[in-house]
């Protein structure tokens, strides 16, 4: 695929265009049945975005229900351990339900209610988005169906039980690789079947326009807070931002408000699984090429025939063969530097953070911490790294125990 030579735009924050494109990425690649719904959603979101009462309601729930703002915490012992850059953690794991996912869910369910929708569906990988969706559905009294790959149900049983406690119906998806991408297929099939009353809460910055932009906007609270908090703590912006990226919602949420601050370097960390050369990873930018899946054009793991290849990561939340279209664009134009971390590196970082900071990070976020571990020691002491601790690791203890050979 020939790429147009990257041009430096005046602003990195203006996308997408009216067709939902970030450069060549994004778009609306959905069946005709869904097209009128997507257009309705786009209009409803546009109205809501410009309505101060919607913003006020969102802010209320973010503060009093989610627990925002989340702290920006100076990780003194990790900083001392690596002996270089100062490391700050954006504590998204302290949000209600334990991850950044709820920021988006609150936004979308308020929109669903505004649109008069009566039923909520969602896909989930690790279960964090499923739990967050089930939580807001319970709070607003809407019935909720969560599609989850059978493989993921087996490796994330605590979250499955949580969703059920919250009153959601969890539907095991047995098609394809039985993971996140298949759960998304199944949610789309549900949506085309029950178009009249259903709102589909997509959990990441992927899917047809307007989802990538809408989910980003709801997650951008992470970056806006971080900016203000860092200015307060250090009197200046950070030098480097780090976040893990699967679909990429926590990453774009942190990055987006900083994209035009060109002095801020931005590193996003893909899941390298058993290694980039092993064929068992989820690094769609490192090893994929542009294609079309789930309503948008983006980098995908695929074979020569354009068939989608199953991703692998120890972290179910990164186990997706694609990435949000805005990330693909940011990669091509070079504004964000995409790197990767293996399962093992993530496991090591998981344990290190637990032992030094008393914080058990999600395996997803541990990929970001692993990258911080690689760069922090080589950077001067006045260099500031801000890393998004996007979720807590309580859900992962069974996976980690099994990887470490411990019996629970």
């Amino acid at each position: 695929m020939a790429m147009a030579p990257a041009q430096t735009p005046n602003s990195y924050r203006e996308g997408p265009d009216e067709h939902g494109h970030f450069g060549i990425y994004g778009g609306r690649f959905v069946a005709e049945t869904l097209m009128p719904l997507i257009l309705e959603l786009e209009k409803a979101y546009e109205d809501a975005r410009n309505d101060p009462s919607f913003r006020a309601e969102l802010d209320y729930f973010l503060e009093h229900y989610v627990g925002r703002p989340s702290p920006l915490y100076f990780a003194e012992r990790l900083t001392d351990h690596f002996g270089g850059a100062k490391i700050y953690l954006k504590r998204e794991e302290l949000n209600h339900t334990g991850a950044h996912k709820i920021n988006n869910c609150i936004g979308q369910i308020l929109l669903a209610r505004r649109m008069g929708k009566k039923r909520i569906i969602a896909e989930t990988g690790a279960g964090q988005h499923g739990v967050a969706t089930a939580t807001v559905a319970a709070r607003f009294g809407l019935p909720c169906t969560i599609y989850m790959g059978k493989t993921d149900i087996e490796r994330q049983s605590p979250n499955v039980f949580r969703m059920k406690l919250l009153g959601a119906e969890v539907v095991p998806v047995t098609s394809g690789s039985q993971t996140l991408k298949d759960a998304m297929n199944e949610a789309l099939r549900d949506w085309v079947t029950q178009v009249e009353d259903t709102f589909y809460i997509i959990g990441t910055v992927a899917g047809p326009h307007p989802y990538p932009a809408m989910v980003r906007d709801f997650q951008a609270v992470i970056g806006h807070e971080s900016k203000a908090q860092m200015l307060k703590a250090e009197g200046r912006l950070p030098d480097t931002l780090v976040a893990c990226v699967g679909g990429g919602s926590n990453a774009i949420g942190l990055f987006h408000p900083f994209l035009d601050d060109r002095e801020v370097a931005i590193d996003a960390v893909e899941a390298a699984g058993l290694g980039l050369e092993s064929g068992k990873h989820a690094a769609s930018l490192a090893k994929g090429r542009p294609g079309v899946l789930h309503g948008n054009r983006t980098y995908l793991l695929q074979d020569d025939d354009g068939q989608i290849i199953e991703a692998h990561s120890i972290s179910a939340g990164l186990d997706y063969p694609g990435i949000g279209p805005e990330h693909s664009w940011l990669h091509d134009i070079g504004r964000v530097n995409f790197v990767s971390a293996t399962d093992q590196e993530a496991l090591d970082a998981f344990q290190l953070c637990a032992k030094l900071e008393g914080i058990i990070p999600a395996l997803e976020s541990s990929h970001a911490l692993a990258h911080v571990g690689r760069i922090a020691g080589k950077l001067p002491k006045d260099h500031i790294i801000l890393v998004n601790l996007s979720g807590r690791g309580d859900k992962d203890i069974f996976t980690v125990a099994s990887a470490l050979g411990a019996k629970l």
Binding site: F29, V30, A31, E32, T33, Q194, L300, D304
Partner: protein, 278 residues
């Protein structure tokens, strides 16, 4: 030929005063040679138009039957290159029956749109149905296909309202595929009166023939739906039968014979249909 082959077939059907039968099978299901035998026998069994599914790992608009067919084909090593070759071989035996490829965009995008259109035309493909390319994405494939005289057949659905229909129909050629239910392939059966009303609505916006599909499984349904449209599409019921026959150990001509026998009953259904549509 291309668009002209589809137009000629529907003109002939109109002259005969009966609706057509469109049969869907997945390329390479359950294996390449058996699939060729099945497709080659379809015109003789009474299929007026053949839709050939291009297998894809993530068929978002398809129900379990067509998902399973795609997986069988992929497991057998089916690729888009092989699918085009299958059509080329079919064309050596049949010059009159329109062939429409149906599937998802990514394998075509991966193949490269200009190269795909050149090769598809050379193979004898007349039309394309690409589920995840709504009119909003027409510059991707629809407009280049029309330049090559390959029909781009659009899906219209119950959610496509009168305001949107002209947009949807704008670059449609060959025929319009009316998806009779909100849902995935092979699910609930359509309501006949609703279909008749929908076809009448479509006819107010287009002179193109209207084929109706999704959920038609029996000769009776084919006759009933066909009576209200220009053609009935049967897919999941046929590929389910291919799956069952394959699981029973049938392949090659033996499997093709069983499918032909079923298609012949569907064909008898549409041939007996009382035609109420324009």
């Amino acid at each position: 030929m291309t668009v002209a082959r589809i137009d000629a077939r529907f003109a002939a059907l109109k002259a005969e005063g009966r609706p057509g039968l469109v049969v869907f099978v997945t390329a390479g299901d359950p294996d390449l040679e058996t699939s060729f035998e099945v497709i080659r026998a379809l015109p003789g069994a009474g299929a007026d138009v053949i839709e050939i599914g291009m297998p894809f790992t993530d068929p978002m608009a398809d129900g379990p039957a067509i998902q399973a067919a795609g997986l069988r084909a992929l497991a057998g090593g089916q690729t888009l290159v092989k699918t085009l070759d299958l059509v080329r071989r079919f064309r050596e035996t049949d010059q009159a029956t329109p062939i429409v490829l149906m599937g998802y965009y990514n394998p075509i995008y991966s193949y490269g749109v200009p190269r795909f259109l050149t090769d598809a035309k050379a193979a004898g493909i007349d039309g394309l149905i690409v589920v995840d390319l709504p009119t909003e994405e027409d510059p991707e494939l629809c407009l280049p296909a029309l330049e090559q005289d390959i029909a781009f057949i659009r899906l219209a659905t119950p959610t496509t309202d009168d305001k949107r229909l002209p947009t949807v129909l704008r670059h449609t050629s060959g025929f319009v595929y009316y998806v009779s239910i909100n849902g995935i392939t092979g699910s609930a059966s359509p309501d006949c009166n609703a279909v008749a009303a929908a076809v009448a609505r479509l006819k107010r916006h287009t002179d193109l023939p209207i084929a109706v599909g999704f959920g038609i499984r029996t000769p009776e349904q084919a006759a009933e739906i066909g009576g209200n449209a220009d053609a009935a599409v049967v897919g999941s019921a046929v590929v389910s039968m291919i799956g069952e026959a394959s699981a029973q150990g049938l392949s090659g001509k033996a499997l093709a014979d069983r499918i032909s026998a079923f298609v012949a009953t569907l064909a008898a259904g549409v041939r007996g249909a009382k035609r109420s549509a324009a």
